[in-house]
């Protein structure tokens, strides 16, 4: 038996106090397609960054093709035959395909010399792998699927025998995805070892030979794909069920919605549809949980509802106001309409880190009396308001004049949450409330949210933490590829059903095959190995 293409042993990587990878082991046989799955923040990206030389591991050993390797930077990785396709493409948009492919591997100081060889190599690689592309096309003008093709060609052109693909299908259309799986099969047939980082179970089942599961920075299980199934993988990925706290019943379902969205659509600058025909209704006294893998349109939805971006299609109704592309509202108007927003990214948006907590406590409400009498900004008034807020919402230390940056993640989040709750909103949008918050802080934040619900606020909770969604929501909606693909009442929402919907596997068994590309070895979804106990090998 030949040596494994990649063997990682005991890889540990810390970022300050955060352990992103904790003694991770991984072995990938040469010439196979190996998947690594895990939720957001499970440590997958850090692991491959170490393998590609973007970060250096604090501890651990790397062996490539059976030989110990020291990978200090990307140049080392490339020399070892490792290629990487990043989730966010590393392409120069105003370069041609040829220029992008040649960058760093020009083959001589004059471009003309290397270009001839590179053009020939592109033609050859294109024919071999079905990756034909016009070498003179400008990359910025290409469709995303073609840009990805350029990334793969870049790696192959450098002689990569080990190809890392980080969330390769996140940005692809369904047709492009199908074609992509065909490509994976071709690569494998040519002897390339592929490392596929994803959180889409369907893709893992359809395309890989082996799969490793990561959770919380650790490697929790290795499986042979043919011997497992999406249910088991979903459970391994998510961890064990946590009992949901007891909750009073939601308000009567017949109540008129406090906020309603119909047919919302939004495309980014490249024309990629981030949101398509999204309908939702938020009722007073109810929490709607929006589950989904990060980057499936939840952020854009929050921005649209908060007035940070105008909708391009559809409308938002809040009270008597109708918000459309022709008649948009800005965040200040949305606040006046009774909408509060706890943004996903509290460091960039929710707080001005360099300002005092007291000044942050009025952010967005600085025209109100809490910032001082009319015509004047009063630090005393802001501090008094902040002190009240801190006491009521448990922000520690209770020091209004401390800079926001000096508080811990949990206390920063309580400050933001408290600020929005104090505005007594009719509608509250919450993005990732517990991201970067320690375990102790999570419970307190959840209590705050439930308290607001009890007061009759309509709440939209967006989170990539399924536990959180399950613990708090009255209804759960699942978002994938810019659409709401499923909705369950609280009682029917199970981890597995949500996980499968998130992964893009429809509930009706027959439709599952549509997800599997031509590279699929057999029927995907449903059929794999039966559920068994989580059994991490390490």
């Amino acid at each position: 038996m030949t040596a494994p293409a990649v063997r990682l042993s005991g890889i540990t990587k810390r970022f300050g106090p955060v352990v992103a990878n904790d003694a991770v082991d991984l072995e990938i046989p040469a010439g196979t397609i190996h998947g690594i799955i895990g939720e957001n923040g499970a440590g997958k990206s850090t692991l491959v960054s170490v393998l590609y030389g973007f970060h250096r591991a604090d501890e651990g050993r790397i062996e490539i093709d059976g030989r110990p390797a020291e990978i200090r930077d990307s140049a080392d990785a490339i020399a070892l035959g490792i290629g990487m396709v990043h989730q966010h493409f590393m392409l120069v948009p105003n370069f041609t395909v040829l220029e992008n492919v040649m960058l760093g591997a020009e083959g001589g100081w004059r471009l003309a010399g290397g270009a001839r060889g590179a053009r020939a190599a592109l033609a050859r690689l294109g024919a071999e792998h079905g990756l034909e592309i016009d070498p003179e096309a400008e990359v910025g003008g290409l469709a995303v699927g073609l840009q990805q093709r350029v990334e793969i060609l870049k790696a192959l052109f450098r002689g990569a025998r080990i190809l890392i693909l980080d969330e390769p299908t996140g940005v692809l259309t369904p047709e492009e995805t199908t074609r992509f799986f065909g490509l994976l099969a071709t690569l494998k047939a040519r002897g390339v070892t592929v490392l596929l980082i994803t959180h889409k179970l369907g893709e893992v089942m359809a395309a890989t030979d082996g799969v490793s599961v990561m959770r919380g920075g650790r490697m929790v299980a290795h499986r042979v794909t043919a011997e497992t199934g999406p249910e088991e993988l979903a459970r391994l990925m998510m961890g064990r069920d946590i009992a949901a706290p007891a909750r009073p019943a939601a308000s009567a379902p017949g109540t008129a919605p406090a906020l309603e969205a119909r047919g919302l659509g939004w495309r980014d600058r490249r024309g990629v549809a981030c949101l398509e025909a999204v309908d939702l209704a938020l009722r007073p006294g109810e929490i709607l949980g929006l589950a989904g893998v990060a980057g499936n349109g939840q952020s854009e939805l929050l921005d649209l509802l908060a007035g940070l971006m105008p909708p391009q299609a559809g409308e938002i109704r809040i009270g008597a106001r109708r918000i459309t592309a022709a008649d948009p509202a800005d965040p200040a108007e949305m606040r006046r309409l009774g909408l509060a927003h706890v943004p996903e990214d509290r460091h960039r948006r929710g707080l001005v880190l360099a300002m005092e907590a007291a000044e942050n406590a009025v952010l967005g409400y600085h025209h109100g009396p809490q910032a001082g009498p009319p015509g004047r900004l009063s630090p005393a008034a802001m501090r008094a308001h902040c002190a009240r807020l801190m006491a009521r919402h448990g922000v520690r230390p209770e020091a209004p004049s401390l800079r926001a940056a000096a508080f811990s993640g949990g206390n920063q989040q309580r400050l933001v949450m408290g600020r929005e709750i104090e505005a007594d909103p009719a509608v509250l949008l919450i993005g990732q409330p517990t991201r970067g918050v320690d375990i102790g802080g999570i419970a307190a934040l959840h209590e705050q949210i439930l308290g607001l619900r009890a007061k009759g606020c309509a709440i939209l909770l967006v989170s990539v933490e399924l536990d959180e969604i399950l613990a708090l929501s009255d209804r759960v909606a699942v978002m994938a590829a810019g659409r709401i693909v499923a909705e369950f009442p609280c009682a029917e929402a199970t981890r597995e059903r949500i996980g499968l919907a998130m992964a893009g596997i429809p509930e009706t068994p027959g439709a599952a095959a549509a997800m599997a590309g031509p590279g699929a070895a057999g029927p995907a979804g449903g059929g794999g190995g039966g559920p068994g106990p989580a059994d991490p090998r390490h």
Partner: protein
């Protein structure tokens, strides 16, 4: 204005455009690599002083040119140290370099020569003399081509021909060499360069240093070719006009060359028309002509005609994320 007048104006335009071309190419190379350079003016001024001082002390224009390039590169290295190594604000660093040059040239000039900040006048051997190209005699009888060759093409100093060569060289370097490819990439998407296993700071340092060398040549032109010695503040805002030409030429070699020549022509024309009374217009408002480059740049930058898109990573120091 007759045909010969026009020719003479064009000739003087080429002379006036020489420092613009050199500085604008310097700025182009630095900014295509992602480093803003508003210190062109200062580096040119320092170069002008150094060239004059070295030429006066050694009696050799070549020594002056070499010294000017060395000082230009040294100031560029300082810029790089601040904005590449320490990731400081590129604008502020450029401002600092301009002020430093203003102060240093006079302080050192007085200490060296005690002539109120000027250098001693340079003799012919310490300056670059006009070069008479072959064929001036032969072509003298030919109509049109003869005067064109004699007045416009021939009779410039070495730095002028060098500047034209630099434009061609910069064009070729950017578009046809490995270094040029990497340079353009590092100004657009430094992450792609890093991911290709190349050093982002290394490339940026090289670009910044080349800019320094070219500004040094521009300075040497001012004091040892165009002029005969250093005069306080002799760069007189030319570095900023070069910056305008760079923006006006959308950071591309040929359009930048065109902008430099246009701006040079405007200046030459303004000088020629000073005090003249033309039909219809009356007395020529030379001030209006002189500020046209700035006005045009403002309008272009605001997208009122055309669109100048700067390199995407211009002004942002690079760091690996996370």
């Amino acid at each position: 204005m007759g045909w010969l007048d026009l020719l003479l104006t064009a000739d003087s335009a080429l002379r006036l455009a020489t420092p613009l071309m050199l500085c604008a190419m310097a700025g182009m190379i630095s900014e295509r690599a992602g480093v803003i350079d508003i210190g062109l003016e200062g580096k040119m001024l320092a170069g002008a002083f150094t060239a004059a001082a070295a030429a006066a002390l050694t009696g050799s224009a070549w020594a002056g040119l070499g010294a000017a390039m060395a000082v230009g590169a040294a100031m560029a290295a300082l810029h790089g140290f601040a904005c590449i190594t320490h990731r400081g604000e590129q604008i502020i660093s450029g401002v600092a370099i301009n002020i430093l040059a203003s102060g240093l040239t006079v302080v050192v000039g007085i200490a060296l020569f005690d002539q109120g900040g000027q250098s001693p006048p340079l003799g012919p051997e310490a300056r670059f003399r006009p070069i008479v190209l072959p064929g001036v005699e032969t072509l003298s009888g030919v109509p049109v081509l003869g005067p064109l060759w004699r007045e416009l093409v021939s009779g410039h100093t070495l730095p002028t021909y060098l500047a034209l060569a630099v434009v061609v060289g910069a064009w070729w370097m950017l578009g046809h060499t490995r270094f040029g490819l990497r340079l353009r990439a590092v100004g657009e998407t430094p992450a792609a360069v890093d991911s290709a296993g190349l050093s982002v700071p290394g490339l940026r340092y090289r670009a910044v240093l080349i800019a320094g060398l070219l500004c040094g040549v521009a300075g040497a032109f001012l004091s040892t070719a165009h002029g005969a010695g250093f005069v306080r503040e002799m760069s007189a805002g030319k570095g900023y006009i070069a910056l305008a030409a760079l923006v006006f030429g959308k950071w591309r070699p040929w359009p930048v060359l065109f902008a430099c020549l246009l701006f040079g022509f405007l200046e030459a024309g303004a000088a020629r028309l000073e005090g003249e009374v033309l039909p219809v217009i009356g007395r020529v408002p030379t001030q209006v002509i002189l500020v046209l480059p700035y006005l045009a740049t403002v309008l272009l930058l605001a997208g009122f005609f055309g669109r100048a898109v700067p390199p995407r990573a211009l002004g942002t120091p690079y760091s690996k994320e996370r």
